[in-house]
């Protein structure tokens, strides 16, 4: 099948100068804004492993166990960890908890997730030396009871 390009008898009317200026401005603004990317999460030499029980998480109390280690996999003891559970939608009541060290480098906290859906648990960690760091744990699809 052959495709033919139909030519209009009338020459195409060029865009007025002001309209071209507007297009250029809009395109420039879009490109500039598109350059703004999501901020990358900060890296740290501290590794935090986590376990949540029950798995998969359900509405109600959940136990979060954390394991803190430094860059050479040595357990970090004496850290202070506050937990904050938020839903992925704005306007929902957050839940708070504090982790206790149950073994060297192992911390445990309990949170009560009050609604099914996606939760995000923020860890506010104060290291033994006073250094502060924040980590985020995504708890997807908390199921209804």
């Amino acid at each position: 099948m052959a495709f033919t390009c139909r030519r209009s008898r009338r020459p195409a009317r060029p865009l007025p100068k002001e309209s071209r200026k507007l297009l250029v401005c809009v395109c420039t603004a879009t490109l500039l804004l598109a350059h703004c990317s999501k901020p990358a999460s900060s890296s740290s030499e501290v590794t935090i492993e986590h376990e949540i029980s029950p798995e998969p998480a359900r509405v109600g109390p959940v136990v979060i166990t954390l394991r803190l280690a430094d860059s050479v996999a040595k357990a970090i003891t004496g850290a202070h960890i506050m937990l904050e559970g938020d839903m992925s939608h704005a306007g929902m009541a957050p839940v708070f908890g504090e982790a206790k060290e149950i073994a060297p480098g192992r911390y445990q906290a309990s949170l009560t997730l009050e609604m099914p859906g996606d939760w995000v648990i923020l860890l506010h960690v104060t290291m033994p030396g006073g250094q502060k760091l924040e980590r985020q744990i995504d708890v997807k699809g908390v199921r209804p009871n």
């Binding site: 007025p16 002001e18 507007l22 809009v26 839903m87 992925s88 708070f96 099914p116 699809g141």
Partner: protein
């Protein structure tokens, strides 16, 4: 409506309330720069939302873009529409940017004739509802910021090329939402005395006021082609007050009225035509009404069961086609079935002379109050249960800037308890049902004067079905997930 029921203007007891007569406020609104004054704060808030959305915390409850957009803006918008009128369009920040841009770029083109209807805006309205579910806009400050940016850019492009208020009248999905909802508002921009308009020679309210020496327009007339003396109701009115400022006789006010009355009558409306002939506006009313239920359905537990089941049936793991089927069911199949059946029943029982499709179009407007009730219940819930969250989010944003003006964020501040808000939700839904029943009966009285009750019953049944579905939705456990197909 019986003309004798319209109150006489010479009876001071029957004169409607006029917002323009309120001391101070009326003077402010008559001021030529009242609109930019109201728009400027919203523009600043929009810029803050964009910046915080792009560069602030990625978690939605901690970000101003998501908190303000999906909690406060939607809730306040609906409550203002319910209690007053379309004042958001008056203070629309997008129009302030457009107005500034028009000093640099003069639009040259007329909006294409083929697009001079609501079909494009209906499609965009559906697209926004679809994108909201597919991309979980409520959980993404970044995408929310981009949505606001896209809005600003679209306004600039559309109104940069096309004359008048093409964006507001034919494109803006938020505007169309406001137009439909404001048919139920208690205030309306309206002429005070028709006799003054009859004797008016200049018609500045539509043509604009011209400078006598240069003959240039110094105060523009209505950009949405609403000629005040023949304007009926709030459809297509952005409350921009151009007509108020242009009228040389100070004969345009913001008058009170019985909400919803414009849905009962079918006169020739300036800039619109007859409601009963406008299938596009009826489609907008359908998306408004059934979209209210669909939008709420996307946030309750059963939606995940439905999506999972559909995914397994169709052997698809991507959300878009499954969501497409749910949208087609809610916005096409369900309305066609319900409204078609009701129209057919009315034809069979009520003895009306209209054909099936015009009858469906006519009665569709009767469902608008139910839709409004559902939007109010849903967005009112988020707004009221998250009412105070704006404070800790603002505190946190200021703190990040190194400006602890409001102190440490108090994340425990949330909002009203759900058990109280639930009562308010039920109230909104009952109000919506009552409004739909009243409007549907009014339509039945006009259309089938001999058997109004028989013509009314099928539409009452549709309203009751929608109300029951809304109530069921309100009592479902809320479940907000970004991973719908995840199981």
């Amino acid at each position: 409506m019986n003309p004798s029921s319209i109150p006489a203007l010479d009876d001071p007891e029957s004169l409607p309330f006029d917002l323009m007569e309120v001391p101070g406020l009326g003077r402010l609104l008559r001021w030529r720069y009242a609109r930019p004054l109201l728009q400027a704060p919203l523009l600043i808030v929009s810029i803050v939302m964009i910046l915080h959305g792009l560069f602030g915390p990625t978690l939605a409850p901690k970000n101003l873009a998501t908190t303000l957009s999906w909690l406060h803006f939607r809730g306040v918008l609906l409550l203002v529409l319910l209690c007053a009128g379309n004042f958001f369009c008056l203070a629309c920040p997008f129009m302030l940017v457009r107005q500034a841009a028009r000093h640099l770029f003069k639009p040259r083109f007329d909006w294409p004739r083929v697009l001079r209807n609501k079909w494009l805006s209906v499609a965009l309205f559906v697209l926004i509802l679809f994108a909201y579910e597919l991309f979980d806009l409520w959980s993404s400050p970044w995408w929310t910021a981009w949505l606001i940016i896209a809005y600003f850019l679209t306004v600039l492009v559309v109104d940069g090329f096309f004359k008048h208020a093409s964006f507001c009248k034919f494109v803006c999905p938020i505007g169309q939402f406001n137009f439909v909802a404001s048919t139920l508002s208690p205030l309306e921009v309206k002429v005070r005395d028709q006799d003054v308009c009859t004797s008016c020679q200049t018609k500045d309210c539509i043509r604009g006021r011209r400078d006598t020496a240069s003959d240039l327009v110094v105060i523009r007339g209505c950009e949405l082609a609403l000629f005040q003396p023949r304007k009926v109701g709030n459809m297509d009115c952005t409350f921009c007050l151009d007509c108020v400022h242009a009228c040389p006789h100070d004969n345009v006010g913001i008058l009170s009225r019985l909400p919803g009355t414009e849905l009962l009558t079918d006169p020739l409306r300036s800039g619109i035509g007859y409601f009963s002939h406008r299938k596009d506006i009826a489609a907008l009313a359908i998306v408004f009404t059934f979209g209210a239920l669909l939008n709420a359905f996307g946030m309750v537990s059963p939606v995940y069961a439905v999506e999972g089941w559909l995914g397994r049936m169709l052997h698809v793991s991507h959300e878009a086609p499954v969501l497409g089927i749910i949208f087609a069911f809610f916005l096409i199949l369900e309305p066609v079935l319900l409204l078609g059946l009701a129209a057919w029943s009315t034809l069979a029982l009520g003895g009306t002379r209209r054909a099936l499709l015009p009858l469906m179009v006519r009665y569709t407007y009767g469902l608008v109050p139910m839709g409004f009730g559902m939007w109010l219940a849903h967005y009112g819930f988020h707004f009221l249960t998250g009412l105070y969250t704006i404070l800790p989010v603002t505190q946190s944003a200021l703190l990040r800037l190194g400006l602890p003006l409001l102190g440490e964020p108090r994340w425990t501040l949330v909002g009203l308890p759900s058990r109280i808000v639930l009562v308010i939700e039920i109230g909104f839904l009952l109000l919506g049902l009552a409004g739909s029943l009243v409007v549907s009966y009014g339509l039945a009285e006009t259309d089938s004067p001999r058997k109004p009750m028989l013509a009314f019953v099928p539409w009452a049944a549709v309203s009751l079905i929608l109300w029951s579905a809304s109530m069921w939705l309100m009592f479902q456990p809320m479940e907000m997930r970004a991973t719908m197909m995840g199981g």
